[in-house]
């Protein structure tokens, strides 16, 4: 039993089924990310004056990731165009580059996440606050080695200077760290989503986006690799699949185009 218009478009709508399907799905994704952007706006607007962080993320890494995704968007659509012209070999190359770009994106993102998880804000018993990256190799359970600086004013935490001189390593003994009266733990917290709402929404938005990158990667890979034999049997069906997965990929790129300035620059 064949489902009509799975490959050939229906005359009055001019569309094949999967094309409508993917646009409907993308519409729902717009609402999903829209709700998260809405949450971002509200959390930021309602934050007390001066407590919303700026420049906590590396702009150059973000910009590189943006260029990488844009480049992959170009290769995805070039891959589809190659198929339309009957050039399967060229499609294979283009789509392969797309997949590579995705892996590069995810690697840079992992590095950024890791950087946040080793970045600590330490409250000391003498009242000072220290902010820096934990050097795990040189630390012991009683003495932590950080690369960072002491914070003089609270505003500095939320607005660190863009240009920073090379910071020498600082050793802080565990016994010097203030203990939280409620949890009985030393007051050193890393820059995870629990640290403040900016990081919370950052990890959520980029995490969900990364999940979409991974999902898109898997689908594109499946069509490019194991399912490539469909090209021999039913080229038009294959082109439709490539087009539909490409649309999803462009959407993922589109979301990042907004994520980058909102999270990294503003």
């Amino acid at each position: 039993m064949e489902i009509p218009y799975a490959v050939k478009p229906r005359p009055d709508t001019g569309l094949y089924n999967a094309k409508i399907g993917i646009w409907l799905f993308l519409a729902s994704e717009v609402m999903l990310f829209g709700a998260l952007f809405c949450s971002y706006i509200l959390l930021r607007v309602n934050a007390p004056e001066g407590t919303w962080p700026h420049h906590w993320l590396n702009i150059w890494m973000g910009m590189t990731n943006t260029i990488v995704l844009i480049f992959s968007s170009v290769t995805v659509v070039l891959g589809w165009a190659s198929l339309k012209m009957g050039e399967f070999g060229r499609y294979k190359v283009c789509q392969g580059i797309t997949l590579l770009c995705a892996l590069v994106f995810l690697s840079i993102k992992s590095f950024e996440y890791h950087d946040k998880f080793i970045h600590y804000q330490v409250n000391l018993k003498d009242g000072r606050v220290f902010d820096g990256h934990l050097q795990k190799a040189e630390s012991t359970p009683d003495k932590f080695v950080f690369k960072g600086r002491y914070i003089d004013k609270p505003e500095e935490l939320y607005n660190p200077p863009l240009e920073r001189a090379e910071e020498p390593p600082v050793t802080i003994a565990k016994s010097d760290i203030k203990v939280d009266p409620v949890t009985k733990q030393p007051m050193m917290e890393n820059y995870g989503p629990w640290h403040n709402t900016y990081l919370a929404i950052y990890f959520t938005l980029t995490g969900l986006h990364a999940l979409h990158v991974i999902a898109g990667c898997i689908v594109i890979f499946a069509i490019w690799g194991p399912l490539a034999r469909v090209w021999e049997q039913d080229p038009e069906r294959y082109i439709n699949r490539v087009e539909v997965s490409g649309l999803f990929w462009h959407f993922v790129d589109l979301v990042w185009i907004f994520l980058f300035p909102v999270l990294y620059l503003l």
């Binding site: 409508i20 399907g21 409907l24 799905f25 998260l36 399912l227």
Partner: protein, 617 residues
Amino acid sequence: MKTFTDNGLLSQTLAPRHEEPGFWRKYIFSTDHKVIGVQYGITSLMFLFLGLCLMSVMRWQLAYPGHGVPIIGPILYHLLGESMVSKAGVISPDLYNAFGAMHGTIMVFLAVVPLAFGAFGNFVMPLQIGAPDMAFPRLNMVSYQLYFVGGILMLASFFIPGGAAKSGWTSYSPLATIADMNLRPNGQTFWIIAMVFLISSSLLGSVNFITTIIQLRAKGLSWMRLPFFVWAQLVTAFLLLLAFPPLEAAAVLQLMDNLLRTSFFLPTGLVVSGQVLHVSGGGSPLLWQHLFWFLAHPEVYVLILPGMGIVTEVLANNTRKPIWGYRSMVYSVMTIGFLSFIVWAHHMYLTGMGVRIATFFQTTTMMISIPSVIILTALLISLWGASIRINTPMLFALGFLPMFGIGGLTGLPLGFNASDIHLHDTYYVIAHFHYIVAPGTIFALFAGIYYWYPKITGRMMNEFWGKVHFTLSFVFMNLTFMPMFIQGMAGMSRRMYDGGATYQASDGVVGLSPDTIHLNVGISHAVWLLGLSQLPFIINFFWSINRGGKVTSDNPWDATTLEWQTPTPPPHGNFDKPMEVFRGPYEYSVPGQSRDFTPQNEPEQPASATHGNTVRS
């Protein structure tokens, strides 16, 4: 002839199936919309019954607070333990709250919507548009499986330490985060994860429904020739598609609040049990409410629209007349869909919104009542001058009309900001929405079951017991919910586990009068009798599968729509050749025709005078 190994990925679309599928492929992992529809139907009816059972236990507590529940109480004590139920069988406040939250969740997300949309939509809609199946059959199967997993998680949550979610079906923060905070994972965690599964199931389902309706309509089936049922399902699918994602986002955020100590919805300086909570703060509980109600308002239209669709089909068929105002109904249902996205904060009038924004939502709320009234009026006028045929589906469809009328009209004082100040979060609200969903939608769903049962099974359900089921249900539904309006207007709050006994008035103290509290007893008895009234239905349903009266034709109701023009039950692929449609959906009693109905697919020619069966051209 090239054949391919059936690896599941390619086979459905590439290789025609030559061998008959085995049991698993045919009944459990089927991609046939009819099988999936029945799967949804059976699962959702079981959840509907479970929801009723939960409420029945709660109603004992409301009528006789402090007394152990007979029979069930000791069973719950052994199942759930000392912290939830006392040895005498008295429900603890925590368990009452858990039952309450789960009653709402199960009824809305696991029972009514899967039945109205998943079951009826899946089974009937492709048949009514002349399609061989849904546009994406495998996606359809995955949708059901996601629903099933979500359901299992919800059920499992009752038995984990701490029990099921107990922060209301609305899951408001910060309570949803701090309840059972020391248990990880807890019932709330299960609830959120289950919701993610259910929402995903709905999303995939709506993509399928909309694509199918747009792309797979038979030749000649233009938009204005669609049965109203299909229009209702189309608008419902759009509501699910665009309104659910913000709740999915919010659910992820609340899950992070619960498990990762984030503060999306937790304000700064929140004190729990005398200690400041060890979180970053900076969040907003109102943000959760906005994101939740952005879905939950369109969700209530999801609850009612398929029911209106079913009632329309049954009314047209049993009045032997076209539906009055079909076009108005179509435009109205589209307007309802559109407006439903911009009314949500009428659930939040008491959160301290400014006057201007409250007025905006009040205005849109008033506006949306207009198309609802148009639809109800059109259905009522359709009865005028009709030669009404009384049978069980028609009784339920007729019963729907005044019940939905009461439910809808009682929504107006809630939609007005000023009167809502008094009525918000009282039993009035409970009565209002239950009138719409319980004697409203559920009656429509019963009508649908009795109506389409012969197409699915080839047998009729017993007519006498159907009428008994209707009469008893109608009486007890009203006895259950009508007194709640009175309680609500007297100021009785929702979600009080002792039925308001703590606030009972005494000399010199303002509170709830003893009569108001005493109504609880009558209501509880009505609920239990309502539960018993479902027994004739359950027995009838199963008994008739093998012993019901066999149908003598494929179209026992003499209906015009396409689902009756197939063999009974319809085979895989539905129609043996492509359908072509020549007229609208309700050509009943057309002057000059020899029969009082003309099926949509009957070619234009002088009507055959021989028989009322489907004429196969």
